[in-house]
Symmetry: D2
Subunit: 454 residues, 4 copies
C-alpha cells in the first residue's frame, strides 16, 4: 500500500495520500498537485477521492486543481458553507480505498463543520485519524477565525470534538494533523509531524483543560491573522482558478523590469548577503525558504509581482506563491542582479554587520537602537539587553516605534527575518538600518559586553 505525508515547507501544511489495491485518496491536497499524480502513477494507483478536513484559510486547497487532472470526487467539510464545487461529506459516511475504509467524524470548532477522517486498515483496525486543524501535535486549532463573536461557541464545539470524539478513539490511534510546527494555524505546534491520541492526551498542554468552561475561557482568544487569510477563505469556497500547471513567468531585461516595476511589487528572494550588498530600489526581501511564511504578510494581491532570484529558474518561488494565491507573477529579472549592474541602473543596499564588529559598534548604546524581530517565545528563551522587541509580523503596524534618527540594528534568530524587517523599513523611508549576520545564533557564540539574558 501507499502512505505518504507531503509537506508544503514553510506553510507547514501536511497533506496525505493513501493507496491500496489500485485506488487512492488524497486528504487536503495542495494546489501544485503534480506530486500526488506522480506518486499515484508510480505505484499504479488511481486517485478516486479528495477529502477536505475543513475550509482552509492559510493556503489554497488543491481539490479543484487535482480533480481537474485526475477526475477524482471531491468531498468537503463545512457543509453549511456556500461551496461552488464538490460534495459535502456527512458524519459517519464511509469510503473504501482498496481494502481500507475511511470514515468521517464530525469535529467542529476550528471551523463550524470541520471533519476528521478515521482510517481503518484492511483488518478493520482503527489506525490513523486525520484531524485537519482540530488537533495538532501539542496544540489544537484556533477558534477565532469564524469571528470574534463566535469564539466561545466555537471553543465549546472544539471541546466536544476533542474530548468526546477524538480522545475516545483510544491512545493507540495515530494522529495525522493538517499542520506541523511553524504553521500560523496554531500557536505552539510541537515538532512531531505525527503523533498519537495517547501522546496528546498525556502531553498536549491544551488538553489539560478538561473542564469545558475553563477550556472555553482559555481557548477563546484572538490570534494573529495574516492579511492574506481573507483571500484564501474566498478562493477555497469558490474554487481557485485551475492552473493546469505551474505558471512560467517570462525573463525580463533590466530595462523592461524597471519599467514594469513602477506598477508592481518587486520580491527579492536571494540570500541575506546578496540582498544586503545590492538590490533593486524599493524591492522587498524575503529569503527563498521564508516566502511561504512571510509573503502573505508583506505582499498584496492588488499588483503584479516581479521576481529577483538567484537563478534563471523561478519555479520554486512560483510554486510557493501560487500556493497562497499570488498567481499574478509578471516576470523575473534574468541573469539576476548581475545584468542589472551591467545596465548601470541604481541599486540600494542594507548594511550587513558581523557579530564580531557589532561589539564596538554598540559601545555607545545611546547612539544605536537594537530591534529584535523574534517572537515572544523566542525572546523568552534568550533576551538581548536593551533590545526593542517587535515581532516581524507586527512591524507593519508598529513601524512608528522605530526611530529614524539612529542607526537601527536588526536582530533575529539567524539573520534571515532581520532582512525582511530591514527591507520593510527601507521601503518606508528608514535609511540607516543594519542586519546582524547570524543573528542571535552568531551573537551567542562570541563573547561581548552586550549580554544575552537566558
Amino acid at each position: 500500500m501507499l502512505f505518504e505525508r507531503i509537506e508544503s515547507k514553510g506553510l507547514a501544511h501536511y497533506s496525505y495520500i493513501i493507496g491500496d489495491g489500485n485506488q487512492a485518496v488524497v486528504i487536503d491536497p495542495r494546489r501544485d498537485c503534480g506530486v500526488y499524480m506522480d506518486m499515484a502513477a508510480e505505484g499504479g494507483y488511481q486517485i478516486k477521492y479528495i477529502m477536505e478536513t475543513h475550509r482552509n484559510e492559510d493556503y489554497i486547497i488543491g481539490s479543484v486543481e487535482l480533480a481537474a487532472r485526475c477526475g477524482a470526487e471531491i468531498w468537503h467539510a463545512d457543509a453549511e458553507l456556500d461551496y461552488q464545487y464538490g460534495k459535502p461529506s456527512e458524519d459517519g459516511q464511509t469510503w473504501s480505498i482498496g481494502s481500507l475504509e475511511l470514515k468521517v467524524i464530525c469535529t467542529p470548532g476550528h471551523t463550524p463543520g470541520s471533519m476528521s477522517y478515521l482510517l481503518h486498515d484492511s483488518a478493520g483496525i482503527p489506525w490513523i485519524v486525520f484531524t485537519g486543524d482540530a488537533l495538532f501535535a501539542g496544540d489544537i486549532g484556533r477558534v477565532d477565525l469564524p469571528g470574534l463573536d463566535l469564539m466561545d461557541e466555537m471553543a465549546g464545539l472544539l471541546y466536544d470534538s476533542l474530548f468526546n470524539k477524538l480522545l475516545p478513539l483510544g491512545d493507540d490511534v495515530i494522529v495525522c494533523p493538517g499542520h506541523g510546527s511553524g504553521s500560523v494555524c496554531g500557536t505552539a505546534i510541537a515538532s512531531r509531524p505525527m503523533t498519537t491520541i495517547g501522546i496528546e492526551r498525556k502531553n498536549n498542554p491544551k488538553l489539560r483543560y478538561t473542564d469545558k468552561a475553563e477550556f472555553v475561557e482559555k481557548m477563546a482568544v484572538e490570534l494573529e491573522r495574516p492579511p492574506y487569510f481573507r483571500m484564501m477563505e474566498k478562493l477555497n469556497l469558490e474554487g481557485a482558478p485551475v492552473l493546469g500547471n505551474l505558471p512560467s513567468p517570462p525573463p525580463l531585461s533590466p530595462d523592461k523590469f524597471a519599467e514594469m516595476a513602477e506598477n508592481a511589487i518587486v520580491l527579492d528572494t536571494r540570500t541575506e548577503t546578496g540582498f544586503g550588498a545590492a538590490h533593486v530600489p524599493d524591492s522587498k526581501a524575503i529569503w527563498l525558504k521564508g516566502v511561504p511564511s512571510f509573503a502573505g504578510w508583506f505582499l498584496t494581491y492588488d499588483k503584479p509581482i516581479l521576481l529577483v532570484n538567484e537563478t534563471n529558474n523561478p519555479e520554486t518561488v512560483v510554486r510557493m506563491l501560487i500556493r497562497i494565491g499570488f498567481d499574478n507573477i509578471a516576470g523575473y529579472l534574468y541573469n539576476e542582479m548581475h545584468e542589472w549592474f551591467m545596465s548601470g541602473k541604481e541599486t540600494q543596499s542594507i548594511k550587513l554587520v558581523e557579530v564580531h564588529d557589532l561589539c564596538h559598534l554598540l559601545d555607545d548604546r545611546k547612539k544605536a537602537w537594537i530591534l529584535d524581530v523574534r517572537s515572544e517565545e523566542e525572546i523568552e528563551s534568550a533576551r538581548i539587553t536593551d533590545a526593542h522587541n517587535i515581532h516581524l509580523t507586527q512591524l507593519p503596524e508598529r513601524i512608528d516605534e522605530v526611530p529614524k534618527d539612529k542607526p537601527v540594528y536588526v536582530f533575529c534568530g539567524s539573520g534571515l527575518r532581520s532582512m525582511v524587517a530591514a527591507s520593510f523599513l527601507q521601503n518606508n523611508g528608514w535609511d540607516n538600518v543594519a542586519v546582524i549576520l547570524g543573528g542571535l545564533a552568531g551573537w551567542s557564540s562570541i563573547t561581548c559586553p552586550v549580554k544575552i539574558k537566558e
Copy 2:
C-alpha cells in the same frame, strides 16, 4: 554564443536557437517549446524574436505558444496569407541578436512566400542560411502543396529561389534546413542534418536540372499528402490554441477505459511483442517512436484519443501528439494491459512469426500471402520473392487488394511498421494476419528457400 539545432524526432523537424550577448532568436519553433526557454535561461539569453520560414503543413509551429511564454516578437513568412498573429517579414529586412545579424531572403516555391534567413556572424561574415523547406540536404521542397494547378508556377519560383538566391550565397555558407531525413516534406532528404551550399551545388540531385524548363517539368509532381496536413495548415494560420504546458491526460481504470473507448480512438504505442501478444480490441498499433510519422495517417481529429502505453507516464506520447494537433487526449489505461487482464476483459492478438519459423510456414506459397509495406525505395534495394507491395501509408486506400481468405504475412524493414499495418487490417476485419519479427533485417540474416532479390 548559443547555437543549437533542436530535432523533433520522427517528424525530422529541425528548429534552431541562436543567442549572442543576452538575446536569442528561435527559428521555426515546435509547439512544446519548453526546450527553447530552458536553453535560453541556462545560457542567460532572452528570446527576442521568433522567425517562421514558411506556413508549415506537417507540424504545428510553436510561435504563438512560445511568444505567450516569453514575450518574443513573431515574424512570419508567406505574408500574403491571412495570419491571425505575428508580423510579416520583408525581403532584405534585418534583425540584430547581440553582435549577430539575421537577414531575410525571400525564397518562394515551396509556399508562395517562403523565407530564408541568412545569419552573419559578429564579424559580418555570411555564415549560415536557414532555408526552411526551400533547400534540404540532398533534396528541395515539394511544390505541390499550394495546389496542383499552381505546381508549375511554384516550381518556377523555387527554381529562381535556388539558383538565383541561395546558390549565389557561395559554396562556403552553411545550410540549416527545416527538415532532415525521414520528413514527409521531401522525398529523398539526405541524412546530413546540416550541409553547405557547395555540397548541395555539387551533390543535390535536384540541382542538376539547371535548365529552368526541365527543372519545372521534373519538380512539378504530386507527392503523398498525409490527411492531417489540412489541419496543420489551418492551425498555422489561426495560431494553435495556447497550451501553457503539456496536457496531462488522466489515468483510467479498465472499466472506465472500456466505456470511453466506445467513442474514442485507442492508440497503443507498445512494442511489437506486447501488442502482438494481447491488446484492447479495435486498438491501433503505432510503436512509440513511430507516432510522429504515422499518427497523422491513421488517427483522426473527430474523436478523443485513449492511450495504452508501457508506463504510467504518457508524457512522450502526449508530446508527440500535440505537435500535430491531437490535443484531445482523454486518458490512458493505467498499469497498462496488466490491469486489463486482471479485469477479465477480452483482448485481441496478432500472430508473431520468428524468421526461423517463417521458412516452413511458407512451404506452400499458394496458401500464404506476403504483404511488404516498405516504400518503393526500400523495395528497390531488396525485394522479397512473390511479395505484394503496398506502402504502409497507401494501405488505407488499397486495403481491398489484401485477401481475407489466406494467412497474410506482413513484412517491413524491422517489424515495426508491419504491426501498424497488421493492426489496421485487424481493425478492418482481417483475422488471419501475422507480423514477421525483425522484418527484412532478420530475414536477410538467415538462409531460407524464400530468396531476397538484391
Copy 3:
C-alpha cells in the same frame, strides 16, 4: 524537522531519516543511499549517525556506503558478531540529533543482539520506537535464522524483548518497523506501514501468546529462507564493497550479448506479454517490480548477469540488484528484443492464454495440468478446482512434481509470478507451458465451468 520513511519496494524494507537542528540520523540505510544524501542536503541537515537495528539478512545494509559519502558514524547492533566496520551500540546509550534524543533498547530474539531505538521529541516525550525486525505491524521477527538449534533460545529472548521491553513503552508510542507487508522477514506482516504499541498489543496475533512457554512453542518454527540470505549475512558483517555510485552496465549488441550469454545468467524484466511473445533462449523472466522479491530465489552469484529490459536505461533493475549484492551486471541488450529480432537470432516463447479462451482449453481436464504458484494464504482465500499447488519459491525443489507430457497452465494472482514459474520450467526442459493472463483476478471475473472455491 525532517522525518521520512524510505521504502525499498519489493523488499518491503523501511529505512528512516530523522533530522533536527542541522543534524540527521539514518536508521538501517539501503545501499543505494543517494536518497538520504539528497533529503539531508535539501533540508540543510548533515547526517551524523547511522544506526543499524540488527545484522540484516535480506538486503545489503548501506551503512558503509553512506558513511563513505558523508562521514557519519556507524553504530551497529549484534555487538557480539565479528563486524569489520562501525562501533557497537550499548543498551541505554543515547545520541542527540538537534533537540531530539535517540536511546537504544536491547531487543534480542530475531538476532542475538537486535537493538530498538526509542526517539524522544524535543520536549523529551517518548515518541517513536524503531523496532527493526523485533516487532512488525501484525507480526514479529522470525527466530529461525541464527540456527535451528537456537530457535527456542531466540524465541525466549524475543518474548522478553516484546513483553518486557517494547510493550511497556506504552500504547501511545508509535512503532516504525524495519519491514512492511511483503517482506520475507515475517510471515504475515500487516499492511500498516507504521503502527503503535497499543495497536499491536491489541491486534498482533503473535502477541496473544502471553505465556512464555506457549509463545516459544508457537514461534520457534522454521520458515522459508531464500538462498541469497547467506550472502547478505556475510556482506553485512564484512561491509559490502563501496560502489560510489550505481554501476552503469554497458549496452551490448545482439552478437556480443549472445556470446557473453554462454557464461552468464540472462534476466529479462519485461512484461508478461513481451516475455511470453519472444525472449532470448534460456533467459529467466522476472517482471521489473518482482525483481527484489524473486531475484534472490532464482539468480545465483556465480555468474555475471545480463539484462533484457524495456528501455535503454537499466538503472532501476541495477538498483534493485545491487541492493541484494548482484553487483556483477555485465551489460544489457540495447534496443531491447527489437535489435535481437533484426539480427535474425533465435528466440523462445511462452504461450499466453486469455481467461476467455481458457474455458474450452480446459474442457478435457485429463489432458491439462493446472499449476497454481500462489502462497498457501492466497490459496486458502480462493482455490481453483483440480489445481496443483506449488508456491513459486518452492518450485525449484518440487519441479519434478510437474508433468512433462501434458500442457501445463500456470496460474498466480495476476499473471506475473506465473511467468517466473513458466520460464523456470522452460529453462529446465518443459516445453508445453502456458501462462494465464490476469491470473486468478481475471479468472474470477468471468463465468466458466471451472469453478473457483472461495
Copy 4:
C-alpha cells in the same frame, strides 16, 4: 542519424558524437562522459569508437573514462608519445559508423602528431572535418606548447597541414573544431561554433600568410600557458584515474570546515555580491561559470579543495573541477555562509562599489588606484582613463605593481573577473580593495567625469 556538438562551457571545449545505424563514435570526449552514454542510449546507438585529435593540454580527455563505461575502442593521435592506453590511428585509416565513414588525416603542428578526421556521409560525400586544434573558426592552433625550441618546426608543420591538407578539402566542407571562442588554445577564436573550409580560407586572419616563411615567423610565438597545463599533459598520456561517476564531496559543518581549511584551498563560487558581502577568510573567489576558465590559474593540485557554493548541491562545481583534474574535493560548507554566520565565525568582505557612487569616490584621483584586469583586446576597444592594466591571468606575476597604501578599485567587463582579482589581492595582504559592480558595462552606461576612451 545522430550528430551533436557537446560544449564544455568555460573551457569552450567541443566534443562530438556521431551515430548512424546502431553505432556511434565520439570525438574528443570530456571526462564527465555520461552525456555521450545518454545520447547514445536515447537514440539506440552503441558507442564503438572514441577518437582523439591530439594529446590535449587544456582539459582531461575522457577517453579512458568513457571506454571503461561502454567498451569502445580508443584511437589516439600523437602516436609517437608514450600513451598508456588506446591504439594509435594512422594517416588514411578509415572506420565505418553505420553507413558513414570516418577517415583520418594527419595534421601536425599544434602537437607533433595531431590528427583531423574527415567524415563522409552515407553517399560518400566529404561532409565534415573535425580539426581538433589545428584549425579553429578565425584562428589556428598555437605552436608553442611542444617547446619554445620547436616552435619554428611546429609552425612549419602546421603550415603544411593547413595549406596542403585541410584547405584542399574544398570550400564546401564543414569544419568542426576542438574549441570555440574563449578557449586558451587560441588567441582569437571567432564566435562561430562551426565553420567551413571556405569561410576560413576567406576570412581567417592567420590563413592570410600564404608564404610559409612569413607564416612561420608570425605564428611561432609564445602565448600564455596556464599553470595546470602540465598536469593535463601528464594525465592525458597516462590516462586519468577512472572516476566511475562524479565524486560527491560531503557536506561539512562550519567547525569541520574551518578545521580542514587550515590545510586546504577554499574556493567560493558565489556571486560577486555574496562574496563581497562576506566570505570565509582567505577563500578564493571564482564565480560559478568562471571556474573552468580561472581555476587552472588560481588553484593548485597540492592541497584538497573545499567549496562554498550557493546551494547544498555542489555537482556543477565538481563537474567543472574534475574536467581539469581537481579531483581532490574534500567537502563543501553546508547551508552556505548562513551556517557560518550562525556559528559566529569571522568573515572577510570586499567593498562593492556601484558605478553611480564611483564618480565622487574618484574625485580625488591621486588617492585612488584603478586596476583594469581585462585583456589587451578588450582594453583596446574601450579604455578607462588613468587605469592600470594587468590582465587577470598575469596578476599573480605582477601583483607587486599594485600599491598597498591606496584604495584599489578593480574593473573588468562586468564585475565578475574583478572579484577574482580582488580576492587574490586580499589573500595576499591587500586590505583596501573594491570591486566595481557591473564593471565597464555599467560604467559605460552612466555619465561621469571619468571618461572612457573608445
